[in-house]
Symmetry: C2
Subunit: 219 residues, 2 copies
């Protein structure tokens, strides 16, 4: 059943065989899109500007994406996937047993690093202006992260009611995004200072709910 040739995800009827050149173009276009979205926001970013930044013509852009929205969706999905692939391990359950301060370090440091390297991610997460359909994909992306946080909270404090857990996860994520905005808005020592402030804030918020100690598991 499995094709011995290149993996063929037989989804809908889409007999489009991409060449290596095409994949490269897609990556160029997404990189350019990240840059332009970051600079102007989703609505103000123009597809012509994205194509220009990628060094291709508008027509070429539309060879690979059906419309502007699809660019943002694909960019968001790729960034999300890459973040989980690279740093998804921080959400594993063993981390839940760490003392709270170490848990926050373990989760935040990779996330902050990733977002500093990919500032477009936060831009997409915060883009409130958007055509309706993008908002749905956007919400899905949002929830996929929120679920990870809620899961971690649930393991850490199983006694929490589902509502409280949702509220806590939502608020923690919102606080994180807020701090991330400050962090990305500064550089060098200032940035480090805001990283420390954000950790302090999250510690202060989560300590009463999750406890400061780690799980009784001993090495």
């Amino acid at each position: 059943m499995s094709e011995s040739k290149a993996g063929q995800p037989d989804e809908t009827a889409k007999p489009r065989r991409r060449q290596a050149r095409g994949e490269r173009r897609i990556q160029q276009l997404l990189d350019a899109a990240a840059s332009v979205f970051c600079r102007a926001g989703y609505t103000s970013a123009s597809t012509n500007a994205i194509a220009r930044e990628a060094g291709v013509s508008p027509g070429t852009l539309y060879q690979f994406f059906p419309n502007k929205e699809a660019i943002a969706v694909e960019l968001g999905e790729r960034l999300n996937r890459r973040m989980l692939e690279t740093h998804g391990v921080v959400f594993t359950l063993e981390n839940a047993a760490l003392p709270l301060r170490e848990l926050i370090d373990a989760v935040l440091d990779p996330m902050i690093e990733f977002n500093c390297a990919n500032p477009a991610f936060l831009t997409l997460l915060q883009s409130s202006d958007a055509p309706g359909h993008f908002l749905e994909e956007h919400a899905a992306l949002h929830d996929s992260i929120q679920d990870r946080i809620g899961e971690l909270i649930g393991v850490r404090n199983p006694g929490l009611s589902p509502e409280r857990r949702t509220h806590t996860a939502n608020m923690a994520f919102a606080l994180f995004k807020a701090g991330l905005g400050l962090i990305l808005g500064h550089e060098g020592a200032e940035r480090e200072a805001y990283v420390a402030e954000l950790k302090t804030a999250l510690y202060g918020y989560l300590a009463p709910v999750l406890g400061t100690e780690g799980a009784p598991a001993r090495p």
Copy 2:
């Protein structure tokens, strides 16, 4: 030697005499703008839509505002002024002497109430996409609030270095905006829950810096 006629490039000259009807129209237009900005964000909001929502023609809108940007600026200024007039008292120094929990209640409750009644304010505060000039006015609005917070923090803990104070004020304000977004995104009991979560978060963040007690002098 006053000018008899002929308005020249005199900056301070304001030869426009508004009638009561005009002031009413301006208010209608700003109300409509608040609604549209809130629904679509600054960039996606169209001046034609604002005029339509206000029940006037596009030409009438431009009788009172030179361009779209001026609408947002004026709206922001009016909201900011109104907030300070109505609730500015919460930043007075006597409040700084309250126990931290009461201080947070005293500051946050009126702010939350105001922002629930005027959700456009947060929209403007968060509007990242915008033409350059608007961003300057926007930053001024931002700073005017931030200064108030920094002042309060400074009175509460005079020993704080100016840098720390700035960082703390910035972070506290960012956390507040983040929580406010969640609050405005929910209603009824959910909203109340997020209000409580936000207060918890701010308390947890500020307690180590400002102390939980009311007495300002503390070894």
